[in-house]
C-alpha cells in the first residue's frame, strides 16, 4: 500500500511541518534526519519542539564519521569516489558553460525568429543530453562503488544499519531536514535509509526534498561571483519522479527573469519545476499528487502561484 511522501518548503524561519504531521495523523515517535547540518547535526532541540511529536535523531553524520574512522579502506575508497564525482561535476560544468555560450551566441544573430526558435530547441536538447549523460555517469560510479564494496557487508556499516533499522521500524514516519544536499545524500545512501524506510511516511524539506526526487538540481541566481547555471548534481532516490524541486526560491531564483525561468524549465521538461517556498506542501502517494500548494515555474517563464498539484 503506498505511503505518502511529503515535500515541504524551508522550515528555518517557521516550522509548519507539525501541521502536516497532524493532518496525516502522525503522533508517534518519528525518526529524524538532520545529517545535512553536518557537525551541527545534534543541534535539533528547537526543531523537535517545533515538530510537536517525539523524535529520535538517527545521527547519520556522526555515524558516518564513526564508519570512516573504523574502516580505513572504505574511507579511502569513498574519498576516491568523491574525488572522481567532483571531477565529473567540473567537466560537466565546463560543457554546460560552453553550451550556454553557444546558445547565447546563436540567439543574438539577426535572422528570422522562427529559425532562432528552432536553434533554441537544438540548444535545449544539448543541455538535456549533457544533464542525462552526467546523471548516467554518476549512477554508474555509484553502482560500481556499491558492487565493489558491498556496503551492507562491511561490519561497521552493517552494525549501524541494524541499529538504524530498529529505530526506523519503530518510527511512525521519517522526517528529513535540509542542509548540505551532497552530504545528506551520501549518508542516506551509506546507511540505506530509504530502503529501511519503505512503507513509512516520509516528510522532507529543502535539501531533504531534493534528495527524494529522481535528479538533484543545484541552482543559485545570486552567487557571490555574479551568475551561475543550474546544474544536475546527482540522481536522487526517486521516491518522487518527474519533479524538480527548487527550495527557497525568493533567496535563490531571479523570479522576475521570465526568459531565464523559461530556459530552465524547458531544459528540465517534461519534469515539473516546483519552487518550494515557506509554507509549500506537496503530498504524493505513488505517482499521484494528493495535495499541492507550491509555485510551479512554467515553460513560458511564468510563476504559477496557484499550482495545486493538478497536471503537471
Amino acid at each position: 500500500m503506498p505511503t505518502p511522501v511529503v515535500l515541504l518548503g524551508p522550515q528555518h524561519v517557521s516550522i509548519d511541518a507539525h501541521l502536516v504531521l497532524r493532518d496525516l495523523g502522525i503522533t508517534g515517535r518519528i525518526a529524524l534526519i538532520t545529517a545535512g547540518w553536518q557537525e551541527r547535526e545534534d543541534d535539533d532541540a528547537a526543531l523537535i519542539a517545533g515538530l510537536g511529536v517525539p523524535a529520535v535523531n538517527l545521527r547519520l553524520h556522526a555515524r558516518a564519521e564513526e564508519v570512516f574512522a573504523a574502516d580505513a579502506p572504505l574511507r579511502e575508497a569513498y574519498k576516491e569516489r568523491q574525488e572522481l564525482l567532483r571531477h565529473l561535476q567540473t567537466f560537466y560544468r565546463v560543457r554546460l558553460d560552453h553550451t550556454d555560450a553557444a546558445a547565447h551566441a546563436i540567439s543574438v544573430r539577426h535572422v528570422e525568429p522562427e529559425l532562432l526558435a528552432q536553434e533554441w530547441q537544438v540548444s535545449v536538447e544539448l543541455f538535456r543530453q549533457l544533464d542525462r549523460d552526467h546523471l548516467e555517469r554518476c549512477r554508474a560510479i555509484h553502482t560500481s562503488f556499491e558492487t565493489r564494496w558491498q556496503l551492507g557487508t562491511r561490519p561497521v556499516v552493517a552494525r549501524h544499519r541494524r541499529e538504524l533499522g530498529e529505530l526506523v521500524s519503530g518510527a511512525a514516519a521519517v522526517v528529513i531536514a535540509g542542509g548540505h544536499v551532497a552530504s545528506l545524500l551520501n549518508r542516506l545512501k551509506l546507511f540505506d535509509i530509504i530502503g529501511l524506510a519503505a512503507g513509512k511516511p516520509v516528510l522532507a524539506w529543502s535539501a531533504g526534498a531534493m534528495v527524494l526526487t529522481d535528479r538533484i538540481v543545484l541552482f543559485h541566481d545570486f552567487p557571490p561571483y555574479g551568475s551561475d547555471l543550474a546544474q544536475v548534481l546527482d540522481a536522487g532516490f526517486g521516491l518522487v519522479s518527474d519533479l524538480v524541486v527548487l527550495p527557497d526560491p525568493r533567496r535563490r531564483i531571479r523570479i522576475d527573469d521570465h526568459a531565464a525561468i523559461a530556459r530552465f524549465t524547458q531544459r528540465m521538461a517534461p519534469s515539473t519545476c516546483l519552487a518550494l517556498d515557506h509554507g509549500a506542501v506537496v503530498i504524493i502517494e505513488g505517482s499521484r499528487i494528493l495535495r499541492g500548494a507550491a509555485e510551479k515555474l512554467t515553460t513560458t517563464g511564468q510563476v504559477d502561484t496557484n499550482w495545486a498539484g493538478v497536471g503537471p
Binding site: R86, S206, A207, H220, P224
Partner: protein, 380 residues
C-alpha cells in the same frame, strides 16, 4: 566645469565672507559628489594647490583654482560611476610643494608608503563584506618559519579557519605579500566573512612575504622552487591539506601576480587556481626593450616567452585590474590569451587604480569563483 558641479557654483554666486564660506564647508562632505562631477576642495592660503593622483589617462597633477575673495580652492573632475580614486593634495607655499592628505575628507586608504585620501565616485560603496562582522567567527592567525633549501630560513604567516579540524582536508591559498594583504586589504576579515557566509570553503591560507620581492617575484626560478619544492611540502606536512591541484591556489597583486603566474608556468599543473590582481605583465611585441625600467626586464622576458607559446599552466584563473592603471592594457590582452589555452578564465575590470583597496574589493568575486563555497549545496 561640468554642469553638475552645483555646489561650487553656489559658493561662487553668493556672498563670500568668512561666515558664508564656513557655512558652505559645514554643510558639505568632501570631495563633493554630484553625479559624475567630483569637486575636490582645499581651504587655506597657498600659492597654488594641485590634485595628485594615479589615474592613468588623466594628467597626474591638476591645478585647483581659487574662488575669488575666499580661501577655497577647488577642482572639478568628471568621474564615471563607481569610480574610486586615491589622491593627495600638493599645497605650494614659498615655492615649496607639500603633499598632504585632504583634510576635508575623512576617507583614507593605507599602503606601505603611508596613506592616501580616497574619493568615492557616485555609486561606489565600500563592500559590506570587508567590514568586521561580529557574527563571523575569526580565523586563527599565526607566524611560523622554516628552513628552506632555496632561501634558507624564511617566515610566513598562516590563517586557519575557526572551525579548523585535523580530521578534515583543506584547500591551500598562498598569498604573495600576504602580510600587506592583511594590513591594507583586510584579508583576514574578508576570509572570516566569506567563510561564514559559505561563499568560500574553509581553507588554509599561507601569507608569504619576500625581503627582495622585486627580484624574487619577477619570474625568478628560485621563487618557483621555494614555493613548490620547499613551502608547499612543508605546509602539507604541517596541515591537513587536500594536496590536489584544484585545491591549490597562488594569489598576488602587481609583481605578486607575476610571481604567481610565472611559478605556475614553471610548474604546470601543480597550481590549479590562480588569482592575479593588477599583474605587472609587461611584454613587448618587438624587441626586448620596455619602457618600465630594468626591474621589468625579467618580467618582459617571461611574458614574451609565455606569449610566444601560451599553455594551460593552471585550470582556473581569475584576473582583475583597475581601469585607471597603466597595466590595464597588459591585463586586457593577457586574458584572451589565457582563455585560448583552454584554461577557465574570468577577467574583471574596476574603476580603480593600482592599490590595495581595489585588490580588496575584488577578492570576494575572485575567491568565490575559484573556490565556490558550500552555498550552492546548502538548502536549509
Amino acid at each position: 566645469m561640468t554642469k553638475q558641479a552645483v555646489a561650487i557654483r553656489q559658493l561662487e554666486a553668493g556672498p563670500r565672507n568668512r561666515e558664508t564660506v564656513d557655512a558652505w564647508v559645514a554643510c558639505h562632505s568632501f570631495p563633493i559628489v554630484e553625479g559624475s562631477a567630483i569637486t575636490f576642495v582645499w581651504r587655506g592660503d597657498a600659492e597654488a594647490v594641485h590634485l595628485k593622483h594615479w589615474v592613468y589617462g588623466l594628467p597626474s597633477s591638476q591645478q585647483l583654482q581659487r574662488v575669488a575673495d575666499t580661501d577655497i580652492w577647488y577642482l572639478v573632475l568628471a568621474l564615471p560611476p563607481e569610480s574610486r580614486v586615491e589622491y593627495k593634495l600638493e599645497v605650494v607655499r614659498h615655492g615649496h610643494g607639500e603633499w598632504i592628505q585632504d583634510p576635508l575628507n575623512p576617507n583614507r586608504a593605507r599602503d606601505p608608503f603611508g596613506a592616501n585620501s580616497v574619493a568615492h565616485g557616485a555609486g561606489y560603496q565600500i563592500p559590506e563584506w570587508v567590514r568586521h562582522d561580529p557574527s563571523a567567527a575569526p580565523g586563527i592567525l599565526d607566524e611560523l618559519s622554516f628552513d628552506s633549501s632555496t632561501f634558507g630560513r624564511r617566515g610566513f604567516g598562516i590563517y586557519l579557519p575557526r572551525r579548523f579540524r585535523r580530521t578534515r582536508r583543506y584547500p591551500l591559498l598562498i598569498v604573495h605579500d600576504g602580510h600587506d594583504y592583511l594590513r591594507y586589504a583586510s584579508l583576514a576579515t574578508v576570509l572570516d566573512n566569506l567563510i561564514d557566509r559559505l561563499e568560500i570553503p574553509d581553507m588554509v591560507v599561507c601569507l608569504t612575504s619576500s625581503p627582495d620581492r622585486l627580484v624574487e617575484y619577477a619570474s625568478d626560478e628560485r621563487h618557483a622552487r621555494y614555493l613548490t619544492d620547499d613551502l608547499v611540502p612543508h605546509l602539507e606536512r604541517l596541515f591537513p591539506l587536500d594536496a590536489q591541484p584544484q585545491t591549490r591556489c597562488l594569489m598576488g597583486a602587481s609583481f605578486g601576480a607575476v610571481a604567481a603566474l610565472s611559478t605556475a608556468w614553471r610548474r604546470p599543473g601543480f597550481y590549479g587556481r590562480l588569482l592575479l590582481q593588477s599583474g605587472s605583465f609587461a611584454f613587448t611585441d618587438i624587441g626586448d626593450r620596455n619602457h618600465r625600467g630594468p626591474l621589468f626586464d625579467p618580467v618582459v622576458r617571461f611574458m614574451n616567452e609565455f606569449r610566444a607559446e601560451p599553455t594551460a599552466v593552471s585550470e582556473r584563473v581569475f584576473v582583475s585590474c583597475g581601469t585607471y592603471e597603466s597595466l590595464i592594457y597588459e591585463n586586457r590582452s593577457l586574458s584572451p590569451m589565457l582563455q585560448g589555452t583552454g584554461m577557465d578564465v574570468r577577467f574583471v575590470e574596476a574603476r580603480d587604480g593600482h592599490n590595495w583597496e581595489n585588490w580588496r574589493d575584488r577578492m570576494r568575486e575572485g575567491l568565490s569563483w575559484l573556490f565556490p563555497g558550500p552555498l550552492l549545496l546548502i538548502y536549509e
